[in-house]
């Protein structure tokens, strides 16, 4: 034990010695934080009342941040104060930042198109920017403090967005359930983090990975791994923390559900990938997977158990849903299961790297197909006032463009060729099969077959079910709606038929770090 005051003097000296970190590399995140303040000030200056200004401002700022990330040069290596590197804006975080920002942009667009009076409009955009900034930092955090703060930023903004329609009983209930589950699971995760710190004496993932590899298996570390996984599982909507997901997605406005389903899940997987492979994918230490020896590490065991339970629960519970929004919630749980399945083979070898690239690739596709499907829900709630699948009846005849586009998204979510979803599923399953986990892959395939049944439900309503006289579908998409839906469907087909080689290469580049 070292006395406190000399220690403090020592740390202060270290901080004074160090030079100013290169913050320019954190610019996109900084812009998002700045927008939080800008919108608050604009709101203060121009007073209450709805305005077309906020969506334009938000979409503009998000587009600028997106371009900054897209065209900015990637220079790996963490940024931080006083010899305490905390954020690494590397290639892996870059590709996930693109996913978050694209989702944020689309969410604002959906809110616009939903023509719902959101009330207190400026605050919605403030919270959204807070969420996006938190996600960008979460994807690049390389130590526990930064990781925890970014994680909580994403969580709390998510709670506020889910309960945003505070005058709506279902909205308030969704928010309450979300905040209760979220706060408990993050407290559990925090306790796990304190145990990890106790064992290793460091906050840096890289140092922790080294120390853990040397420490070997210990009961308290198993407990810590389970606790930390609890926090991750909550945000990813994976077993055993998936209970909030259907209620929250159903109770929140459809655009918010879309945002949570894509961006929030991508954020936690970005952090998870970094934790799993810390030390470099092609480097030496496969981080936490050393906990129980290399072959059947405790982390791997947790991931496999959770993956099987998550996808089975998600797919089977989705079978009996009549609300499309709730069904998509279960489908998003099932997808978390597939992703965890592939995450369980991540390692330092070539196969492990392919698994990681597969997850990144899947998120790029998941972004398109899931947001597209949620746009259809947005339209249903706007025009028909319900997300019930029966509201789609007869769409195939009345609005063929919308129906066919939606069908493509559903095919892609199921993983049927010739859509991008097929290619994505292939890349998720391939590393698992190649690793020799045949049983795990078989469970995944059976689940895929089950999902075919519930994804076919909306198809049956749209194309096969006969319309009842006087009960025609109330959906009235205008030209812009059709353009948006088509814009989501066309890339899925193009990517599925050809051209996915480029995107695969993009994913491979993102995970290939210089050792």
């Amino acid at each position: 034990m070292t006395p406190f005051l000399p220690l403090l003097a020592q740390e202060t000296a270290k901080l004074e010695m160090s030079s100013m970190p290169d913050l320019s590399r954190m610019l996109p995140g900084g812009l998002l934080c700045l927008m939080v303040i800008v919108i608050l000030v604009v709101d203060l200056v121009r007073g209450k009342g709805p305005s077309a200004l906020y969506p334009k401002l938000s979409m503009g700022a998000i587009a600028v941040a997106f371009l900054m990330v897209l065209f900015g040069t990637v220079k790996a290596g963490a940024v931080g104060y006083g010899g305490f590197p905390s954020l690494d804006p590397d290639a892996l975080s870059r590709i996930f930042k693109l996913v978050f920002l694209a989702t944020g942009f689309v969410t604002v667009l959906f809110v616009e198109r939903s023509r719902q009076a959101f009330g207190r409009e400026a605050e919605f955009h403030v919270i959204l920017f807070g969420a996006l900034a938190g996600m960008c930092y979460l994807a690049s955090a390389t130590e526990m403090i930064g990781f925890y703060l970014a994680f909580e930023t994403v969580s709390y903004t998510g709670f506020l967005l889910a309960g945003y329609k505070a005058d709506d009983r279902r909205g308030a209930e969704a928010g309450t359930k979300f905040v209760m589950f979220g706060a408990v699971s993050s407290a559990v995760m925090l306790f796990g983090l304190s145990l990890v710190y106790g064992f290793t004496g460091s906050m840096q993932f890289a140092v922790i990975a080294e120390k853990l590899a040397a420490a070997g298996s210990q009961p308290a570390l198993v407990l810590a791994a389970i606790f930390v996984f609890g926090g991750f599982a909550f945000k990813a909507a994976a077993f055993p923390m998936q209970w909030w997901c259907p209620d929250v997605y159903e109770g929140s406005p459809a655009p918010v559900a879309a945002f949570l389903a894509v961006a929030s899940k991508a954020a936690v997987f970005a952090a998870g990938l970094r934790v799993l492979t810390y030390g470099g994918v092609s480097g030496s230490a496969p981080a936490l997977s050393h906990l129980m020896g290399h072959d059947s590490s405790i982390v791997q065991t947790i991931l496999i158990c959770s993956a099987v339970a998550t996808m089975t629960w998600g797919n089977f519970a989705a079978l009996r849903q009549s609300s499309l929004q709730r069904m998509l919630a279960y489908s998003s749980i099932a997808h978390a299961g597939y992703l965890l399945m592939t995450a369980s083979v991540i390692g330092t070898d070539k196969l492990g790297q392919e698994a990681m690239a597969g997850i990144v690739f899947y998120f790029l596709i998941y972004l398109v197909m899931n947001l597209g499907a949620f746009y259809v829900v947005t339209l249903m709630r706007r025009d028909a006032g319900t997300a019930d699948i029966s509201a789609l009846r007869g769409m195939g005849r009345r609005h063929p463009v919308l129906a066919v586009s939606f069908a493509i998204m559903l095919f892609s979510l199921t993983g049927l060729p010739p859509t991008a979803g097929f290619v994505g599923k292939l890349q998720l399953f391939w590393p698992v099969v190649a690793k020799g986990y045949y049983l795990l892959a078989a469970v995944g395939l059976v689940n895929g077959a089950v999902s075919l049944y519930f994804y076919a439900k909306p198809l049956r309503e749209m194309f096969l079910a006969a319309e009842v006289e006087g009960e025609e579908t109330r959906l009235a998409p205008d030209g812009v709606d059709l353009a948006i839906v088509t814009a989501f469907a066309v890339p899925l087909v193009i990517l599925g038929l050809f051209g996915w080689g480029n995107v695969t290469q993009m994913a491979m580049d993102a995970v290939a770090r210089v050792p």
Binding site: I145, Y148, E152, V184, A187, R320, S323
Partner: protein, 103 residues
């Protein structure tokens, strides 16, 4: 003479606090009481961080604690504001009344 207080004592206390908090969270139906249990869980983690920080002779654990306190304040603000909305609409803050969404 009193026995010396070691890091292990702090960790046992922290684990007990955490267990009490978790027990409260799992068994109680009133959301306000659940939030109290949550505070216990967060502070259990804080205690562990500070104890480990002294044990390892670096300040990172203590720094983390400050951030956790700030996050706990944010959590209370967010959770209570959502609870206010629920209370206004349903007239109660127990989880048993929040059962409209299911299936």
């Amino acid at each position: 003479m009193l026995p010396q207080v070691t890091t292990a004592h702090y960790i046992v206390l922290s684990a007990l606090l955490f267990a009490i908090g978790l027990f409260g969270v799992v068994t109680r139906k009133n959301v306000v009481v659940i939030l109290m249990g949550l505070e216990l869980m967060l502070n259990a983690a804080n205690l562990a961080f500070v104890a480990f920080s002294r044990h390892h002779g670096n300040l990172q654990g203590q720094v983390f604690t400050f951030f956790v306190i700030a996050v706990a304040a944010a959590e209370a603000a967010v959770a209570l504001s959502i609870l206010m909305a629920l209370f206004r609409l349903k007239g109660s803050v127990t989880l048993d009344d929040a059962t409209e969404l299911k299936g």
